[in-house]
Symmetry: C2
Subunit: 146 residues, 2 copies
DNA sequence: TCCATATAGATGCAGTTGCATCTATATGGG
DNA sequence: CCCATATAGATGCAACTGCATCTATATGGA
């Protein structure tokens, strides 16, 4: 229904979602870059691929990571050039392909995680009073995803 | 201290912060674009300028909006080309300038707000159970900003 | 079978961002 | 006053993103 008006609390939550997202993402990316690692998007893709035994189609990555189709397409080109993934033809769908994480990709995940998890603790965990608060924040953010 | 490990709740909160941020931002930007309006960043700058009677220096916008210096610099070029802002030399600091919102800029804010506020209500307010939840989410996100 | 339509993914081009650097002015110490 | 250093903002270039479109394969109905 058009014209619905958000409450003050809703507007504040929206504004802080944007600000906090930028602030925390910026801080985490800075930490990763300073350690000589590629952007978070690379980690995200590789992590999804490692989770999914048997690889994933680009379209699945797109849906999971909320990245536009053409951006996934080119991100995969970069990851392939870096030797972090492998492409296979899809056995049943001639239009499709299956993306697999390579051993180098797995190694990169292992190398990045200590830096990454420290960044998450520093920029998120340490700012909250308790695990209960972190859980509550996660729950509320989950609601925004429907 | 290096090597600190985040709790599961913290990692989940981080992951959802990124996902929810992208999801909600994408949805709001889509609504604005569909109504023929420029990106949110334009609104953000104009809103800050309207709030600050007497204009702002680019550096102040940079700090307030968490946008990099060179991006503010070029965003202001676009806003100026669109006639939405005015530049003045800074009266005391010869390196600096003062940015003011123009009448066209104010008009754009007025035109965008009905669409924008509906988008906020649709993609944030309606997903939460109550104003109390929205307030709690705002509080927790605020903690991430220190 | 054949065709219209749908879907998976790639690509050309323009606009935007990140990174490093540059210019101009300001400021503080000698 | 002069110089070294700091700060405000701009800019060249490369990388990335959005947008529209394109190619290739798949699918469902006549």
């Amino acid at each position: 229904m058009p014209g619905e008006k958000p409450s003050k609390e809703t507007v504040l939550a929206w504004a802080r979602l944007m600000r906090a997202g930028r602030h925390v993402l910026g801080a985490v990316e800075r930490d990763l870059k300073q350690a000589g690692f590629p952007p978070l998007a690379w980690y995200d893709v590789l992590l999804e691929l490692r989770r999914a035994k048997g690889g994933l189609r680009p379209g699945a990555l797109e849906a999971e990571l909320l990245i536009a189709q053409h951006n996934i397409s080119r991100l995969l080109v970069r990851l392939e050039e870096a030797g972090l993934i492998e492409r296979r033809r899809h056995p049943e769908d001639g239009r499709g392909q299956i993306i697999l994480i390579s051993e180098e990709g797995r190694a990169l995940l292992r190398q990045m995680w200590p830096i990454y998890r420290t960044a998450i603790e520093t920029h998120v965990g340490a700012k909250l009073k308790s695990e209960k608060e972190a859980g509550e924040l996660a729950r509320l953010l989950g609601a925004l995803l429907e």
